[in-house]
């Protein structure tokens, strides 16, 4: 005699199949979502090989061996600064000559863009950007005085590690080294504060 709780063989097989399918589905979706974070050849990994942390480094983006990513503009000089905020916020200082195109973008550890600007964002040819974690930003804001508004642009990085990319246009091939000089004149350094300051 059958009890009411028993399930027949065929429906049981069906339920097992359904369970298997949902587990397989979850694994499939999860692996797709996690793939960009695990891929060893992502932009951050490639920059890590080419550029030390907290230092501006010129990158030849036009050949596959030295590139960070394909489909870069060969008319642009490209520089990258990989940052690690664990020792302190990052300060970027640039003095930008007028009417020379310079693009700047800020990316998190997984390549995600969190801020982009061009040379027209500079005041009187000077530009100062601070990239910081949430805690570091709060500390910086705590030091602000009321009568002197901050002169720098402050950015919250979504991850403690990330990278900054600067692209300078060489309007003619002969101006490529001038564009590279503009990239290398950008300073990109960890800001280390003396204790008690």
């Amino acid at each position: 005699m059958k009890t009411r709780r028993q399930i027949g063989f065929v429906p049981r097989l069906f339920l097992w199949g359904l369970a298997m399918l949902s587990v397989a589905g979850i694994v499939h979706v999860a692996s797709i979502l996690i793939m960009p974070r695990l891929a060893t050849r992502d932009a951050f990994a490639r920059i890590s090989v080419l550029a030390p942390a907290n230092k501006m480094t010129l990158i030849d983006a036009t050949t596959s061996a030295m590139s960070v990513a394909p489909f870069e503009d060969p008319s642009m000089a490209l520089g990258a600064c990989r940052f690690d905020l664990s020792a302190g916020p990052l300060r970027i200082r640039a003095s930008l000559p007028p009417e020379r195109l310079l693009l700047m973008s800020f990316h998190g550890r997984f390549g995600q863009l969190f801020y982009a600007m061009n040379d027209r964002g500079a005041t009187r040819g000077r530009l100062e950007v601070v990239v910081a974690t949430r805690d570091q930003l709060e500390e910086i804001e705590g030091r602000d005085s009321d009568d002197e508004p901050p002169q720098e642009l402050r950015l919250l990085s979504p991850t403690p590690e990330g990278f900054f990319i600067a692209r300078a246009l060489a309007e003619r091939p002969s101006l490529k080294s001038e564009a590279q000089t503009r990239i290398m004149s950008i300073s990109c350094q960890t800001e280390i504060r003396a204790p008690g300051n």
């Binding site: 050949t63 503009d73 195109l101 982009a116 061009n118």
Partner: protein, 128 residues
């Protein structure tokens, strides 16, 4: 790495205006109007997105260096062999792609505001 909204817009062409795949054995004329931008560049890359080395070291043109035809229009000639005017050498053996970049453009915030008729034409000329 894609450009941010304050940086500019990128376009890629893998086919000509007639819908045929860009072929290194053919010559092409790029002409017409350019959408408004502070600077633009047009460059040639292989289908993987890298340059193919060429003795002239010319891999593109920028808005600042083009020989113009007097008005707002322009023309660039793509060919394996040297051509007068704005000559962009094709160094690739097979297919190639063209990249157009509009830097610091008023359209940067919305790429969909551009009609394809506002972009330059890529006309196939003779093929080897």
């Amino acid at each position: 790495m894609p450009l941010g909204p304050a940086e500019g817009l990128s376009f890629i062409a893998r086919i000509d205006s007639g819908g045929r795949k860009l072929d290194a054995r053919c010559d092409y004329l790029i002409s017409g109007q350019m959408p408004n931008a502070r600077f633009w560049t047009l460059s040639i890359l292989n289908s993987d997105g890298y340059i193919v080395e060429h003795a002239t070291r010319r891999y593109g043109f920028t808005s600042g260096e083009l020989l113009r035809d007097g008005g707002h229009g322009f023309s660039i000639l793509l060919s394996r062999s040297a051509r007068p005017g704005n000559w962009l050498p094709i160094a690739s053996d097979q297919s190639f792609v063209l990249m157009l970049r509009l830097y610091d453009s008023a359209n940067s915030a919305n790429a969909f505001s551009l009609e394809s008729s506002e972009l330059p034409n890529i006309t196939r000329e003779r093929c080897a």
